[in-house]
Amino acid sequence: MNTSSRQRAYDRGHTIFSPDGRLYQVEYAREAVERGSPSVGVVTSEGVVLAARKRVRSPLLEPDSVEKIHRVDDHLAVATAGHAADARQLVEAARKRCQQHRLQYGEPIGVSVLASDLADHIQEQTQSGGTRPYGAAVLVGGVDPGPGPNSSPTPDDRSADETERERESATERTVQPALYEVDPGGTFYGWRGTAIGDGTAEIRSFLETELDGGDSTAATPDLTRDRGLSIALDALATTAADDRPISASTVTARVLGPESDSGQSTPVGDDELERVLAALESD
């Protein structure tokens, strides 16, 4: 009897309110995120730039095996901070959700829809028994199909292959870049530029200076992709230790933008990273 009641208490889970209304486990989870290497997102007029710093603990470690930014659909990517293993689960959930949306509705998922779906999933772990919160936060970046000539195909427009039409028409539309942050509590906010992980406060105030002066719902006016990438990397550099400046092997970046030769989601190559970092260095 004694044992079983103890077991029940143990099983009840740790996500209970403190007397002053706080969820300590969720706050500890946010702490775990704060200790993770940072990821940055910047919305430009040409797309969303995601960049992250990789923690390469040893010269023997293969930097490519440290994954911070993950493609989750043709037009979407997720940057993470915090417990890498927890983050991987979120990435997997995001990828499945993207394909599920295509299956169910025959159209790609929107950036805010994916962010809110992930937030719902994360929130569930703060309220159900036997689970712990995710020790990771994510930035969801991508491009939404904007209004266009074929934005609402009528049913009789369908050929035997309606998904294909959907794909073809998507390329004719304008796109709307969007960036969302989802935290371990399961709340999500849209941003024009933000960061998660170590040094978030410094990075955010840096971004506030750099990106100031735009209308809050749209991409920062006249901010090009190249400038956005430069700002994102510069923001990451503000948090790097003086004795270990960031380099092409310790940062990673991806741009989600209008259709290019390599699709809407393009990793930034080492050459370009080196070039941008060198330009920052000389400023």
Binding site: H70, R71, V72, D73, D74, R95, K96, C98, Q99, Q100, R102, L103, G106, S159, A160, D161, E162, T163, E164
Partner: protein, 221 residues
């Protein structure tokens, strides 16, 4: 095989072909959808569909089954591509397709699946989930007629530019005598560089377009 969906719409009355060439593959199909091969419900059906960057398939069977199947296959391959570098080979795509077909709710479909990763390959996938690779493959009610032509005309050493005409002729010959095939054609050409798909209204228009793009005029015998 005659698959019938809830609306009774059947495209088993169909002719589709797949050919392996030296530099890629060609897939082609007629564009008629019919009720039991007796009433034409659609004359511009696309029965050749891409499922990945460099992989496409043709289907014969009910339209509803095929649409649902293609959506699921695309989702599976998209997930595979995100976890694997490089993305799915033709062999992988065929394995996944056959596995979906074998599962309970999936349909009786006759597929021809082709792609170029890592090499030009065409697979015939039968309604029981059997997967067999072959230099030529055909499916649907017109397949005997198509095979008759392909056995004679196909040469895997030829380029896809030439094989487009062979594929178009094979489908054309089948539509001459198979009442359930006709109206138009879809031709897809896949090489390492691109996956190109064209839709033609009218069989003869498709044949002349495919033939005129052929530099070697002796292809069409």
């Amino acid at each position: 095989m005659h698959g019938t969906d809830s609306n009774g719409i059947v495209t088993t009355g169909t002719t589709t072909v797949g050919l392996v060439g030296a530099d890629g593959v060609v897939l082609a199909a007629d564009s008629r959808a019919s009720l039991g091969g007796r009433f034409v419900t659609n004359r511009t059906a696309r029965k050749v569909v891409p499922v990945d960057d460099r992989t496409a398939l043709t289907f014969a069977g009910s339209v509803g089954d095929a649409q649902s199947f293609v959506r699921r296959l695309r989702a599976e391959l998209a997930l595979y591509d995100m976890d694997h570098e490089p993305g799915a080979s033709v062999d992988t795509a065929a394995t996944v397709a056959a596995d979906l077909i074998r599962r309970e709710e999936t349909p009786q479909l006759e597929l021809v699946l082709g792609g170029v990763v890592p090499d030009p390959t065409v697979y015939q996938i039968d309604p029981a989930g059997g997967v067999m690779d072959a230099p030529i493959a055909a499916s649907g009610s017109g397949m005997q007629l198509a095979y008759g032509y392909l056995e004679d005309a196909h040469d895997p050493e030829r380029s896809v530019a030439e094989l487009r005409a062979v594929a178009a002729m094979a489908v054309r010959n089948a539509t001459e005598r198979d009442t359930a095939s006709g109206d138009g054609m879809t031709i897809a050409t896949i090489t390492a560089d691109e996956l190109e798909r064209e839709q033609y209204d009218g069989i003869e228009r498709a044949v002349s377009a495919a033939t005129s793009r052929t530099t070697d005029s002796e292809v069409v015998r």
